[in-house]
Symmetry: C2
Subunit: 200 residues, 2 copies
Amino acid sequence: MKAPIDFYFDFSSPYGYVASEKIEGLAGRHGRGVVWHPMLLGVVFKQTGAMPLTQVPLKGDYSRRDMARTARFHGVGFRLPSTFPIATQAPARIVLWARDRDAALVPKIIHALYRAFFVDDVDISSADAAAAVAASCGADGASARAAVDDSSMKEALKRENEQAMSRGVFGSPFIIVDDEPFWGVDHLEQVDRWLATGGW
Amino acid sequence: MKAPIDFYFDFSSPYGYVASEKIEGLAGRHGRGVVWHPMLLGVVFKQTGAMPLTQVPLKGDYSRRDMARTARFHGVGFRLPSTFPIATQAPARIVLWARDRDAALVPKIIHALYRAFFVDDVDISSADAAAAVAASCGADGASARAAVDDSSMKEALKRENEQAMSRGVFGSPFIIVDDEPFWGVDHLEQVDRWLATGGW
């Protein structure tokens, strides 16, 4: 059994969303699973001095256009949410909570949360909204909601962020294949070839 | 005859270099030519607040690795120059000078300058070194060298930068196909599909 690949993402990242829709199929074609790592880009941006793309002069207009175009390029439904970017502690903590309880639920909840935000324009920064999405996947809604304010889940997310940064993660999506790092949905082609060949 | 595509680049940009090696073949397969636009990323970065990639915390190590990996992915020779990044006024002005005199020389000089920097580790920020590379392509070396300090070439480069920014260019490589903008060597696949289909 080959090692799974690591997929780091922030729930507010459009490119993370698009990649999340493709990564399991891509990994699966090479006999690999996916380990999902929700994280907070805002924490990383404090280190790198980066800003949300849409707020950068010149890059802002381009990035709004490119997000939609890249989603269409990959055949993934997308519209820029009316509130964007958002804080993503609530959905990230719910994912970590689910991971401790029912690992099979994790990808379901991630896809449902991402689609709620980037297709149905649900503001998943709201703990109530994020918990409702988790409940729609079969999780216990009240427990999911409580997890958002649970200090152990807050700590778990902090640890995830620290571990991500210690592995050099600074953007979303960020994919690590056998210690080889790839940043960006635009690198899926390189990830695919790396999985096929073991490097070049 | 279809309109040529516009290729904006900075001579200090590794991703611009890799794309410069692929763009004519890609455009040619769709019956398109390439208009080359040397520019100064430093001028744009003042507007966007960006820094050279290798100087950004966390991103620096990754970008050095990714530059070499991306070059190999595309089958392009590459090593990170011992002096990097560099100021690129000299090679950019020589290209603009050649454009006014012998358009056929322009792509030859661009490829030779880029390869001198990213393959042979020649510091092309030096006016003498850049002029020598132009001379090796058949340009008059003394005139090329003089162009670097020529006030009309300084003005021409300023105009190129201003025109680039007015078209929304903020990085290298930056490719515009019939008013559709694409940033980054990672977007060559999208450029290819856009040229084939006229958009999606």
